[in-house]
Chain length 168, copies 2
Amino acid sequence: MDNSIVVQPLTAAGFAPFGTVIEAPESEGESANSGTARRWRNVTQLELGACGGTSEVSIFRADPISLPYHCNRLERHPFSSQMFIPLGAHPFLVLVADGDGPAPSTERLRAFRTNGAQGVNYRRGVWHHPLLALHCTTTFVMVGRTGPGRDFELAEFAEQTSVCIRTF
Amino acid sequence: MDNSIVVQPLTAAGFAPFGTVIEAPESEGESANSGTARRWRNVTQLELGACGGTSEVSIFRADPISLPYHCNRLERHPFSSQMFIPLGAHPFLVLVADGDGPAPSTERLRAFRTNGAQGVNYRRGVWHHPLLALHCTTTFVMVGRTGPGRDFELAEFAEQTSVCIRTF
């Protein structure tokens, strides 16, 4: 079995099972600010209120990794979505996996590379890798949940099932 | 009376009366993601729940303006904060005014230029100008409020009190 996958460009359609790409949609949007701007409303849902939760905004500054990258863990937040927006024009790597069970399927892992002008919002409960900056240390705005309950699950892969992420 | 003000670089201290600069603080933060990142929690407050409100995420794409710029209006949201993060490394212009009264004081208008890796979160009720991109059309993520009530006030300045925003 070849435990490797190839990084794909991040697109709204490809990422739809996992959440939202934060970018201007292809539709026309509505006129805003006296005609000086276009606006697209409700581009994603912040799912932060479960179990008495509320919003929390953090800044993350992530060290860069290089490809190929050895993925041996994923995490998820069973109560909440989590949105990351880079500050500056910095591409980053997004690793996600299908599966609602107690552990993600490494065979259904997907790897996406952003174009430098995209953020992501992981849907509630979606398995994802912690931040993976590329090329340079990158600062991100995170909009997530704080509140009661254990809103964090970690899945670590045995060495023989870890996945090698390769460049395209 | 000289109705003109000079744009200043945006700093956390200078912007503190109006809200939060969204950037990595100067403090060390905490270790995160198995030591591969630094994290700063609760860097700003999203004030979105008043009067039955909830969060709403929009994308804005704003046309650029050039300096000097003639400021003849400000707006505010009496129920809510409003956060803007640029997608890409694009500086933009931030115009805000002191004052809790029914109209902002043009004599207390302040103009800031971001460094391209900064967002802002306007505190609830702070008078501010709609998005002002510089140099190029710029896409922004906005995290604001949707819900009951009229969460919008507009102040238009008479021509003789409008303010000229000049470059530094």
